[in-house]
Symmetry: C2
Subunit: 294 residues, 2 copies
């Protein structure tokens, strides 16, 4: 990761975290429910969705102030999805980012409600935004509901569960990831570019960029599960094999997965060339995802 | 229930059910997820939220076509809340409306995702609506997120769970119901009046009407749990006592609860007088809720 992108990310990280916390604090919510929502919001993470959204907005000359609450919205959707996915009924994970998962810290019922609350709040964050026009709020709410709902991210989690203990094809695996991880990343990039003022053709290029970025993200996730550093990642390596999940390395071998990752990175770079934009940061972001260690 | 309201409800029931089904069918969703969403949507119910929304819209001269998709949105939110509330981690109910609950018919994970999908789809139903202006979509999406989220319905479920096995005051019980049941009914009435063209003062009267209607609904629910007919209701009576839930009859005695119910009904009628509207149906609706048998 070059200095430029490092600076950009660290420059915005505190702002994103503060806005997220302030937003949850500002809600009139029963104490335990608020604690549970805040716990997962404060558990950190790379915040790559809001970062991507902000970068895409600024790439088209947009003001980050207009993009920030939408970045918080997508991060709340992402956080809710982790809370629900970790539940015993779903992936049954006890640890995330080196800390107890939400339902281990609180209880299953509270975790379900905290997830429901964060998901619902994301639409409030967009529609209550001071600096967006009504037309923009409608577009962003509609796109977020498509990307995160039963046609998008929720479909991905369903397909992922159905695929457990099954031998998949690479095509089927891609279909899962396009929904489960890809849709929110796609939304983030497109939403940022839209707020920044990108035209239809530019939005299509950014969408293509983000689709490849999403697949790239997932292959690297699978690779890290084999060669990653447990301490750096805050979770055990080898869990995919333990959980009998299909992964790129399992289907293609480790080198095959690395080749696939590099192919997606190149495809993302190609798409970016068509996006008609000062793309330095967005291009560095590809390298960042491609070579991340956690 | 008089003929007028009976006719109104039966006249719209098929339309509401068809629109709900068509909406879920129109989504590109993994088969099992769609089956699970449809199962709970098709399980029926009184559809009082969309009915109330349509009546309030028409009372102010609005076209029901403009209100119907918003009515479907609120019914999807209501349906998702039932699916999540029934989960073993929450109320652990096996039967609803005489049928297996969603997680008994499918499984816990699918039920969680079906709920998530329906909640998210409700915002799509509003923002993708052909007949509403952007300003209206923003207002309705924002109000729905407030009413259904961590400050509204979700807060109510949290408070309800925390209150289990505790002796409550009537004030605390009201606080729970105002959130858990009240907020979606409030949204339905206000949203309908808003779409119909009500002014600010009229919206406030309709909101007051709906708040009392919500409490009325809940007291009658508690009363039916004691004196209701199991077969008509499709669920066992006496479950509140078995579950050690605080209810109006428990706190006030059966006659005290009946008095409270009638008080709320009168308050709702008073509010309606200030609403400046042809209120025949909305007034009959009070009687319908007050004297319902299921």
């Amino acid at each position: 990761m070059t200095n430029t992108l490092t600076d950009y990310i660290s420059g915005y990280m505190d702002t994103i975290n503060q806005q997220l916390e302030q937003f949850v604090y500002s809600l009139q919510v029963p104490e335990r429910l608020r604690d549970s929502m805040l716990y997962s919001i404060q558990a950190g993470g790379k915040r790559i969705r809001p970062i991507l959204l902000l970068m895409a907005c600024e790439a088209y000359g947009g003001s980050p102030n207009r993009a920030l609450p939408v970045g918080c919205a997508v991060e709340m959707v992402h956080t809710y999805s982790l809370i629900h996915d970790d539940l015993p009924a779903m992936d049954n994970d006890d640890v995330r980012r080196g800390m107890p998962t939400n339902h281990k810290k609180f209880d299953d019922a509270t975790a379900i409600l905290a997830g429901d609350g964060l998901l619902t709040a994301s639409f409030f964050a967009i529609t209550n935004h001071d600096l967006l026009q009504d037309e923009e709020k409608v577009y962003l709410s509609r796109e977020l509901s498509k990307a995160s709902g039963a046609e998008g991210m929720v479909a991905g989690q369903m397909l992922d569960m159905e695929a457990e203990n099954q031998e998949l094809t690479v095509e089927k695996l891609e279909q899962i990831h396009k929904h489960k991880t890809g849709e929110l990343l796609r939304f983030s990039a497109v939403a940022g570019a839209y707020i920044g003022g990108a035209n239809q053709s530019q939005l299509q290029s950014i969408e293509k960029y983000a689709r490849h970025l999403g697949l790239l993200f997932q292959v690297q996730d699978d690779i890290l599960d084999i060669i990653g550093d447990e301490e750096e990642m805050g979770k055990p390596v080898g869990s995919d094999e333990t959980n009998q999940k299909s992964t790129y390395p399992q289907l293609l071998g480790l080198q095959g997965a690395i080749d696939k990752r590099d192919y997606y990175a190149n495809q993302a770079k190609e798409a970016l060339k068509e996006a008609g934009v000062d793309s330095t940061l967005l291009e560095e972001f590809i390298d960042y995802i491609q070579h991340r260690k956690k």
